[in-house]
């Protein structure tokens, strides 16, 4: 059902590396989100965007940054990865109010391991 894609699915990297997690959706949704989730745990909102050139930090402090240059693309970047960044990162999008489809669509997630 979901037309939202995340790459890579799994990533293992060394400390200090710069990484970008990709997220794209083909539904034309203006709202996009990044959540961080440890195994079997709750979701924490780390970034969100309400449209092109709009980005906000979420409830959980994160050293990552995001950009929204195109509606369909919402990448997340870590300038210098650390072991504490090891986690599952979930990208999501939602349709605008009034569309009758108020729900979150999730990507498959990126499991990041920093050694």
């Amino acid at each position: 059902e979901a037309d939202i894609y995340q790459t890579p699915r799994y990533l293992v990297i060394g400390t200090g590396k710069k990484i970008t997690l990709e997220c794209s959706q083909t539904m034309g949704h203006d709202k996009m989100y990044w959540y961080q989730q440890d195994p079997g745990m709750e979701l924490h909102l780390i970034h969100y965007s309400y449209g092109v050139n709009s980005t906000e930090k979420g409830d959980l402090s994160s050293e990552s940054t995001v950009s929204r240059i195109r509606t369909e693309h919402f990448p997340l970047t870590l300038e210098s990865a650390r072991p504490s960044h090891t986690s599952q990162y979930l990208c999501a999008s939602s349709a605008p109010p009034g569309t009758g489809a108020r729900k979150l669509f999730f990507g498959s997630g990126t499991q990041l391991s920093v050694l």
Partner: protein
């Protein structure tokens, strides 16, 4: 602020039996949406069922139904005829009607036992 509480970290059910997952929430809003999301071991989160607060009728999707008690701020999920594929984490979520923020509970890990 909105909060969502799932008081059952783990549950199990025998295959073909019925199980109910609990969720309560706190809000001063009158118009909102409630959701149950499922996250199987493969980890992609999918929507199970959605309820609009202004609708009194409980939502139903095949074997999944909810018991929505607006006054009590309760939104439980009932899974009938449980199947092995129902094994997953289940998250309850809340969204204000004209907002774009989703508030999630801490999740309930459900295991269906053969």
């Amino acid at each position: 602020a909105q909060t969502v509480t799932q008081s059952q970290p783990e549950m199990s059910v025998q295959e073909a039996e019925t199980v109910t997952l609990s969720c309560t929430y706190d809000t001063s809003e009158n118009n909102y949406y409630l959701f149950w999301y499922k996250q199987p071991p493969s980890r992609q989160m999918i929507l199970v069922i959605r309820q609009e607060a202004y609708k009194q009728q409980n939502a139903t999707e095949n074997r999944f139904s909810v018991n929505f008690q607006k006054a009590a701020k309760s939104f439980s999920l009932k899974i009938s005829d449980s199947q092995l594929g129902d094994t997953a984490m289940y998250f309850c979520a809340f969204m204000k009607h004209e907002d774009n923020q989703f508030y999630f509970g801490t999740g309930t890990s459900l295991t269906v036992i053969p």
